[in-house]
């Protein structure tokens, strides 16, 4: 067994272990940390497939930013787990049914009938100076320019929508204007008055 194959199985096993832990841990903070581990292993698998840009971007975006915000929110929640687990047995048969349907559908779409090794042979390994970043950039900004730009615009609209929906104007809150604060002068704050000394 080659080193790559061995590493692939190690990372794949860790990925599955971490994913199972995400949904079985009782403490939500532990679940989020296992999700971070799962992202790391997925990044390692992409690295093995010579997609170094995607692998590092996964760590940078998901582990470095998205999961930090997840952790931020989850830590502040006070979740009563016994209450959440109360209906577990009741909904179990329905849950198993839905997941079975999803597994069958997935197998029909991406099963060996369409994505077997005979349909798509493993690509040859690229040379050491092959730049995944450059290849991705060239494709994104030539062939897939419109889908890429449209996706960016949709995300921008989503950001603006989310902010405008949650933004609350609170007239009673006092805001400070730093530019006014730094330009403040002695005359604005202090008034020297001359008055007669009282007897």
């Amino acid at each position: 067994m080659s080193v790559e194959k061995f590493l692939f199985y190690v990372f794949a096993a860790m990925l599955i272990f971490a994913s199972v832990m995400v949904i079985t841990r009782r403490n939500p903070v532990h679940s989020v940390l296992f999700l971070v581990l799962a992202f790391f292993n997925a990044a390692a698998l992409w690295m093995l497939a010579e997609a170094e840009f995607l692998a590092i971007a996964l760590v940078l975006v998901y582990v470095g930013a998205v999961m930090v915000l997840f952790l931020f929110v989850v830590m502040m929640l006070d979740i009563d787990l016994s209450e959440m687990r109360a209906g577990f047995m009741k909904y179990l048969p329905l849950g198993i049914g839905i997941s079975a349907v999803m597994v069958v559908e997935l197998l029909m779409v991406v099963g060996p009938a369409y994505f077997g090794l005979d349909k798509y042979a493993a690509p040859a390994a690229k040379a050491a100076d092959y730049s995944n970043t450059e290849a991705l950039g060239t494709l994104l900004y030539t062939e897939y320019l419109y889908p890429f730009e449209i996706a960016a615009v949709i995300l921008l609209v989503a950001i603006i929508a989310a902010i405008s929906l949650t933004l609350r104007k609170r007239p009673e809150t006092k805001y400070q204007d730093p530019s006014k604060q730094v330009t403040v002068k002695k005359e604005h704050r202090l008034r020297v008055i001359k008055m007669e000394a009282e007897e």
């Binding site: 971070v36 170094e52 840009f53 582990v63 930013a65 730049s131 970043t133 730093p178």
Partner: protein, 352 residues
């Protein structure tokens, strides 16, 4: 003699060679970190007209207190590691390692000279960005697992601050990679070749300022040290830590400061390139190895970070957020546009 040593080196397995190279990078780094703490106390002492540590030396000589970092390290090593009641012991112990790990791993792609780099990878800049963004996990996990209100408040402050400044920092680096046309750190330095005015500090001056200030915020240093804020929340995320676990946080903070200084020197101040390149003095300084220039530039920024700490009062939290989101991010976006136009129209001096 030399040939036999090269032959011996090449007969070693690759993994041993890599391990030796890692040791060669990490040991001087750790010594630099130890003496950076000494330098900080002496420099800030001088700025505040005090003396600073000048007693501990070696073999009865005081040597301006050069033995102080060693004495501090010894003291911390022999102290007991107290784990608070109802803390999460596993996460409590692993948090300092999670902070220190990325701070050391980022040096793997750092080029010290033209051919002096451990891993010369294409996406070096991305790798550095990804690893520096991981440091926040140690802080958050430390604050949460300590089961302490002050530690938790420090972790919350730190998480929000680091995530906010990472965006400005990332955009500043996007400007660098647009100007250099490469993600490889070695190529970024080569793109600055010419003379001291060809270095990127001039065309990318706003990005350099943003990177430097965001770097101070990312390392939780004064004036952005609200995560520790000793007058408000005791010591923030590491209030429950003692002994070697506390020392690991300390080491990581100073290793990150050295990394930020070195990266500033590399990306905006020409890295290992000589400042006399292209001038009359060039012939007299040919013999200086490139790593000397790099270390000298790094040292300037390291002292600058200490100077910041001695000079500025701590920022208020809402002003930190305003600076990050409403000032730095617009500046970087505008300047990326400017740099993009300059590269497309091949502006003379830098991009022709």
């Amino acid at each position: 003699m030399i040939e036999s040593m090269i032959a011996l080196w090449e007969s070693l397995p690759v993994i041993v060679q890599i391990l030796v190279k890692i040791v060669v990078i990490v040991v001087p780094l750790m010594i630099a970190v130890a003496y950076y703490t000494w330098l900080e106390r002496r420099v800030i002492g001088a700025m505040q007209v005090r003396i600073g540590p000048n007693r501990v030396g070696f073999f009865g000589f005081k040597l301006q207190g050069l033995g102080q970092p060693i004495a501090d390290a010894m003291k911390l090593m022999f102290k007991e590691i107290v784990i608070p009641t109802r803390a999460n012991p596993f996460l409590f112990v692993i948090a300092p390692m999670l902070t220190l790990g990325p701070a050391l791993a980022a040096w793997a792609v750092f080029p010290f000279d033209e051919n002096l780099v451990l891993a010369d990878i294409n996406a070096g800049l991305l790798y550095i960005l990804a690893l520096t963004s991981l440091a926040v996990y140690g802080v958050i996990i430390a604050g949460w697992s300590s089961n302490s209100k002050y530690a938790f408040l420090g972790a919350m402050r730190s998480a929000a601050q680091i995530v906010s400044y990472e965006i400005a920092m990332g955009f500043a680096l996007v400007g660098v990679l647009v100007a250099a046309g490469s993600l490889n750190l070695g190529d970024i330095v080569q793109a600055q070749a010419g003379s001291a005015v060809h270095w990127f500090w001039l065309p990318l001056f706003p990005l350099f300022m943003v990177y430097m200030i965001a770097g101070v915020a990312e390392t939780n240093r004064a004036p952005f040290d609200v995560a520790e804020g000793e007058s408000e929340i005791v010591a923030g995320f590491h209030v429950e830590y003692s002994g070697m676990t506390f020392a690991a946080f300390f080491l990581a903070e100073y290793a990150n400061m050295i990394l930020i200084s070195a990266l500033t020197a590399l990306m905006f101040w020409g890295g290992w390139l000589s400042p006399f390149e292209g001038t009359f003095f060039q012939q007299y300084f040919e013999w200086v190895p490139g790593i000397v220039w790099l270390l000298a530039k790094t040292f300037v920024f390291m002292v600058l970070l200490l100077w910041f700490r001695a000079t500025f009062p701590r920022y208020r939290y809402d002003q930190i957020m305003r600076l990050g989101w409403k000032v730095f991010i617009p500046i970087t976006i505008v300047w990326i546009l400017v740099v993009g136009l300059a590269v497309v129209y091949e502006m003379p001096w830098w991009f022709d």
